[in-house]
Subunit: 277 residues, 2 copies
């Protein structure tokens, strides 16, 4: 397993591989969700590249950039076990040199949900992912469905800007009690960890009600909101039943819909989603 700390090292490793290149962009502190993407990349490509880069431009000024969990040694051991070929760990200095002023912005779909609560977040995400794509030049790039809006934004960017790769979304990986895997779960104390199961419970409730024929999106939002509000440690940012492509809120569910939410459990902000088919 090669470790590339500079763009030049990454490009040199990439240049040696004429076959399919699978790429997983991460911010490190890896969990089974990330590893499911690496496994998928491993199965479908001859070269597997994983980046670890905690991207400052996608964090708001009051967000957790500085405290975001990091454990490079553990990450590298996990990636080695998955037969990763190249781990790309660029520096902030090389990624964002002084006077770096170019950005990729995806409009409209970023106005909603995460975009409305985290202004500038997707500008940072789209820009760093575009840069990583240009440096790594992958054939296939893998992202987790847990960040549903991020997947949409990246697919939109790739299509709109005619980038030469395929974006593949993989299912959310969950703990045994349903909590979606997230590097931020480490912030939760035991009591909060138990409370955090309320997100998936609300999604399962939506799925059950939809399965029984409920077609009022507002009814689903209300039932989910009510369930989450029953958890004293939970504070809702949004509960959404939206079109899976445009993320516009739906009135009547007469087609697949994305049920999603952002909820604070104590100080920790968690998101989750499920597709209602």
């Amino acid at each position: 397993m090669k470790i590339a700390n500079t763009f030049a090292q990454m490009k040199a490793a990439r240049a040696k591989s004429p076959g399919l290149v699978g790429f997983v962009a991460t911010m490190g502190y890896l969990h089974e969700g990330h590893l499911s993407l690496v496994k998928l990349a491993r199965a479908e490509n001859s070269l597997v590249v994983v980046s670890i880069f905690v991207n400052p431009t996608q964090f708001g000024p009051s967000e957790d950039f500085k405290s975001y969990p990091r454990d490079t040694e553990r990450d590298l051991a996990m990636l080695k076990k998955e037969k990763t070929d190249v781990v790309f760990m660029p520096s902030v200095e090389e990624m964002y040199p002084p006077r770096s002023n170019s950005w990729v912005v995806v409009e409209k779909v970023t106005d909603r949900l995460e975009g409305s609560f985290r202004p500038g977040h997707f500008k940072g995400v789209a820009t760093v992912v575009a840069k990583l794509f240009n440096i790594v030049e992958p054939t296939n790039a893998y992202f987790g469905q847990k960040d549903a809006q991020q997947v949409l934004v990246i697919k939109k960017m790739v299509a709109d800007l005619n980038m030469n790769l395929k974006v593949i979304a993989a299912p959310t990986v969950r703990e045994s009690d349903g909590l979606a895997m997230s590097s931020r779960n480490v912030y939760l104390n035991p009591q909060e960890r138990r409370a955090a199961t309320v997100l998936f419970k609300a999604l399962k409730l939506a799925k059950t009600l939809r399965g029984k024929g409920e077609s009022s999106a507002e009814m689903l939002r209300q039932k989910m909101t009510s369930l989450i509000s029953g958890e004293p440690l939970a504070k809702i940012e949004y509960v959404s039943i939206a079109d899976p492509e445009t993320l516009e809120e739906i009135t009547t569910i007469d087609r697949p819909a994305l049920a999603s939410m952002a909820v604070r459990i104590g100080k920790t902000r968690l998101i989750d989603n499920i597709l209602l088919e």
Copy 2:
């Protein structure tokens, strides 16, 4: 000479060529300035691709998108003579499908000069050029120094977003009386055409004064402004003596400086520039 009207045709033509690919992006209605770029591309690459696309997103609502001069037949004859391999003429519909919402924005350097008089212009330029780069995948891309700020914006975009190509700027080509070649020169009636020489006269004046040791940028701006104002058909938008990298206005010329201007001659907006070394 192959004509590619779709992205698929362009990519197919590109895929056959493993060597160096030179690319010239144009809006058509070609002149000797464009052809100098094609000649340069021809000399330095094994495949030469020229695009003709009048890009709607770089025109403001009150600008000349609809009336922009077009003559495809003449353009193709000129390109054939220069041994162009592929002419890429995509449709607006394929370039900007409905709900295409992703943009490349280069901040700061676009706040000034052209950017301040043509809001949104460089957002359209950077986006279409990024798209063209992704579709054509050139090794080398050639732009004319006449559009000095555009060259800066594209070089900045390529560097900041780690795009895999080299941007090469070629000198402005001028008519015998000094007028910079521009597709928009066709708008000028004979009287305006004579008046239009005032732009280059002002640049030459700046060069002469600088050559004599004048180091006050404000003095140069004043002398240039005064010269242009002597032409009754001319209306100045800006006269600038700026840092060639940041485009910030300079006080004392103690390093190379970019002298540039935008002037309306009748209804036609012309720009020109010269580097004071």
